[in-house]
Symmetry: C2
DNA sequence: ACCTGAACACCGTTCAAGT
DNA sequence: ACCTGAACACCGTTCAAGT
């Protein structure tokens, strides 16, 4: 399973990401990481301060996959692309959204925050509007994706956690909720509302003074 | 610590909430719940199928504290009040936001979803706009609060995780990020953007066809 | 019907000992 | 400098035995 190469912080982080991808965050243990690397558990602690330290690094690695703002693009398409690529990166690593509020941002995430704020600064918005926009975009990227991932993977674990819920629901007690679920079942999971709401936020910013 | 009253599912859930409030979700163990109730661990399993089952019930208990839609109110203030009271309930129980994507909704949460959808139905929006509105509001209530709670409690654990981050940040490398943090430090945590963004969403819905 | 002792298969982490 | 064995203080959960 593992050539006996020297242990590195980077190899530990990468092994952690591989296990989280396969077994989820709950299934990630230091012992499994060690097994994957062909070493003993305690060896890991020579390269990583603690499990939390490892998790923080794993998360920042995901932020490293966010697109940087493309140069020579006006603020709106720049923000749009960063948000979409961030959503994609977070979806590639399903375990990541759960960690976004757990640690102070690492270097990659700092760079991403800086790029978002720089784009907002270019929009010449009042300071408080720019601040609101920043948090609205951040919550949208992380929160919306978190919700979507949670729904999709729960559906996969058991073929039909969502189906079971849908069927257990009494349409007489919850008419609107039943109709809502029916709507989503008919439309399938293919439709993606992320970009739609993203554009609503950007519309709001533009209306608030950007140009 | 505990009169030797008969064990109930409700007493188990309430004990779980008390421990989560004190020690956080990570500090909640079945053994601690048992200790608080003055019984052995295994006794709990007579009233609760598993730890996950307990967590799902704890979460639904929080949704029980969401305001129901007040009767005879038009859709916009109704949605607004439900969102604000939901935010308050989730903030009262800091551990709750982390669980919102983990389980299918229990009865209290179903009632809340039904009430939100009913209010949206009254707005006479196109079906897809109503659907977008529902998810935008849901993500806002859970996601925004999750982020806010995460930031605030991380700041409390160590007097200054946020302060430390702020000071470790090189203003030359991250000028906008530094300014952003400075902005929040000056304004303090008292200002609350939740309602502001909430109104932006409601504005968007109103513009999209509600009246 | 409800409770519980013992046991199983796990955790993260420390520390002293090895090389 | 890096690795590791043994150990500590925990986990959730099963199962058979008690009342």
């Amino acid at each position: 399973m593992s050539t006996k190469r020297a242990l590195t912080r980077d190899r530990v982080v990468r092994a952690g990401m591989a296990i989280a991808a396969r077994d989820g965050l709950a299934g990630l243990s230091m012992r499994k990481v060690a097994a994957k690397l062909g070493c003993e558990v305690m060896s890991l602690y020579n390269h990583v301060r603690s499990k939390d330290d490892l998790l923080a690094d794993m998360l920042d690695e995901v932020y490293g996959e966010f697109d940087q703002s493309p140069p020579d693009t006006s603020w709106r398409p720049a923000l749009r692309q960063m948000a979409l690529s961030g959503r994609d990166a977070l979806r590639r690593h399903e375990w990541a959204t759960e960690l976004t509020t757990s640690f102070p941002p690492g270097p990659n995430r700092r760079r991403h925050m800086e790029a978002m704020l720089a784009a907002l600064a270019e929009a010449d918005l009042p300071e408080d509007v720019a601040d609101l926009g920043f948090h609205a975009l951040t919550v949208h990227i992380q929160g919306y994706t978190h919700q979507q991932v949670g729904f999709e993977t729960r559906s996969n674990e058991r073929k039909s956690a969502a189906e079971q819920f849908a069927e257990s629901l009494d349409a007489d007690d919850y008419p609107h909720l039943s109709a809502h679920i029916q709507y989503h079942r008919e439309r399938g999971h293919h439709h993606d509302d992320f970009a739609f709401v993203l554009d609503l936020i950007l519309d709001g910013l533009e209306r608030a003074g950007g140009q």
